[in-house]
């Protein structure tokens, strides 16, 4: 019995290819408690996405173990709604693949579509929806199997800046209401600070945990308002320095 809902114990990952061996992740330990929102930031190409693949169980780590309650929900960089399925049908993809969950998932998905304003678009095809709505549909698809833990891999990166700010608020609201445990991978420091309870900063490849920031804000504000908080700037500067991003000359 641990206090953590997700626990990573000394995860390491080494990739083999015909020409070389690449160490992507080195000895990462992390515990995430129920209902917590944790962001992982790090230099690009440091193995953040690989870490999510490992947590999801798609990739087996070379070393270490993971403890968590399955199923987990995984949201990828783009919405990947299937063009030939209607929105409702897309949202039912998870239950559709796990036939026995169909019955209990159907009313839940209808409820989510209703609650998050997609009910009237349920019979539309994805290309008829705006970027923000598609992202919301992708989130409902992720929630359909009622996962306790959600893994988000830069789910906002394909959106333009305006939409993005709104969608981040939107997603935060939904996840907060549904009381999910979330691990978000992003390269956007501001986004990480605005949405999370904790920010984990990784080193360049091979990725290790460099620092963990416990974020303290006045209230549990939605992300957009957090950006006004005086602490926001402070955290941003600290993490920016931590990441030590150089533009190579």
């Amino acid at each position: 019995m641990t206090a953590f809902q997700v626990e990573l114990n000394h995860i390491s990952m080494t990739y083999q290819s015909p020409t070389t061996e690449t160490e992507a992740i080195s000895d990462i330990c992390l515990g995430v408690t129920q209902g917590e929102f944790v962001s992982i930031v790090g230099p690009s190409g440091c193995g953040k996405s690989t870490l999510l693949d490992i947590i999801c169980g798609l990739v087996k780590p070379t070393q270490g173990s993971i403890q968590l309650q399955r199923p987990v929900g995984y949201m990828l960089q783009r919405d990947y709604l299937l063009e030939w399925r209607t929105i409702r049908h897309n949202c039912m993809l998870g239950p559709d693949l796990q036939k026995h969950k169909m019955k209990e998932a159907r009313p839940y998905v209808e409820h989510l579509l209703e609650t998050y304003g997609l009910a009237e678009f349920a019979d539309h095809y994805p290309r008829q929806l705006s970027g923000g709505m598609r992202q919301r549909a992708a989130l409902i698809r992720t929630l359909a199997l009622k996962p306790d833990v959600l893994l988000l891999d830069e789910p906002f990166s394909a959106l333009d800046y305006q939409t993005r700010l709104a969608v981040v608020d939107d997603v935060w609201n939904i996840l907060h209401t549904e009381n999910k445990t979330v691990i978000l991978v992003t390269h956007d420091i501001a986004e990480a600070i605005s949405i999370s309870d904790r920010v984990v900063v990784l080193t360049a490849r091979p990725a290790r945990v460099k620092t963990i920031y416990e974020l303290r804000f006045a209230t549990a504000d939605p992300p957009l308002q957090r950006r006004q908080d005086e602490n926001f700037r402070k955290y941003f500067d600290a993490i920016w320095k931590e990441l030590d991003i150089h533009v190579s000359s």
């Binding site: 987990v72 990947y80 299937l82 063009e83 693949l97 199997l145």
Partner: protein, 268 residues
């Protein structure tokens, strides 16, 4: 649908567009009519020898004769049935092989050089073998159609299957999908445009195979009519057969197009 008042610009645009379409269609029809008319007149004036080149009026008489003695439909039917079976076996077999090669990466690597060579080999060279092996009925003709269509079907389907976005497959895996589910839920539906365009190519190739087969060995069919007509110097019969063959090719193509429109509605 709401009746929306159209702006004058919109009306002008639509009228222009419509006019353009009418002009294109009329020109197409006129070109054909002019060609037939010139052919007829030139043959009548004996500028060309209608014994060798035939002429529209003689072709029409030949069609009517074939229509009244019923042999027209018999020959068309024979060629159609052979093409049908060649198409079913060629695309069906090709589809199954493509799924198998998608399923097993090793099998795909192993078969690659064989497929490349078989694709480059002119299949008509195998005709004599087919006759020896399968006899002189419809079997070698269907066999020829199958051989011509199956390799192209396999190659284009496999590359279509492999073009599917790996992240879509990852998405399904995150839901715990099996390999069979990945195939049926993502790979096949997203390859549907490729599958249909392959069918379009394949139906044409099957017809090529059937006619080649009928040239080599046959007692009936449009290919038989063409060879027979040229041997007894009835060029009217050859020309008529070619025209009917062209019509048949067009009809087969439109049948596939019809299914394409129905199956790909989500694209529109």
């Amino acid at each position: 649908m709401l009746a929306v008042e159209q702006s004058p610009d919109r009306k002008a645009y639509l009228r222009k567009r419509h006019l353009h379409r009418v002009i294109v269609l009329m020109t197409q029809i006129m070109l054909l009519l002019a060609f037939l008319l010139v052919w007829e007149l030139v043959a009548n004036a004996r500028l060309i020898d209608p014994f060798i080149t035939s002429q529209p009026s003689r072709m029409l008489a030949t069609i009517l004769r074939l229509h009244y003695d019923g042999s027209l439909y018999m020959h068309v039917w024979v060629t159609f049935v052979e093409t049908f079976w060649g198409f079913i076996l060629g695309t069906g077999g090709g589809f199954l092989c493509a799924v198998l090669l998608w399923w097993s990466r090793s099998l795909n690597e192993i078969s690659e050089p064989y497929l490349v060579v078989l694709n480059a080999l002119p299949k008509v060279a195998l005709g004599p073998l087919l006759i020896v092996w399968l006899g002189n009925g419809s079997a070698p003709i269907i066999g020829m159609a199958l051989l011509i269509s199956i390799i192209v079907t396999i190659i284009s389907l496999v590359s279509g299957f492999q073009d599917v976005d790996p992240d879509k497959i990852k998405l399904l895996q995150s839901f715990g999908a099996s390999r069979l589910q990945i195939l049926t839920k993502v790979v096949l539906p997203s390859s549907l445009p490729t599958i249909i365009s392959t069918l379009k190519v394949s139906v044409g190739l099957c017809l090529v195979g059937v006619i080649m087969g009928e040239f080599l060995v046959s007692k009936a069919g449009l290919g038989y009519l063409i060879v027979y007509g040229s041997q007894v110097f009835k060029l009217d019969l050859v020309m008529v057969s070619i025209v009917i063959l062209a019509a048949m090719a067009a009809i087969l193509y439109f049948i596939v197009s019809f299914f394409e429109k129905r199956l790909l509605r989500w694209q529109k």
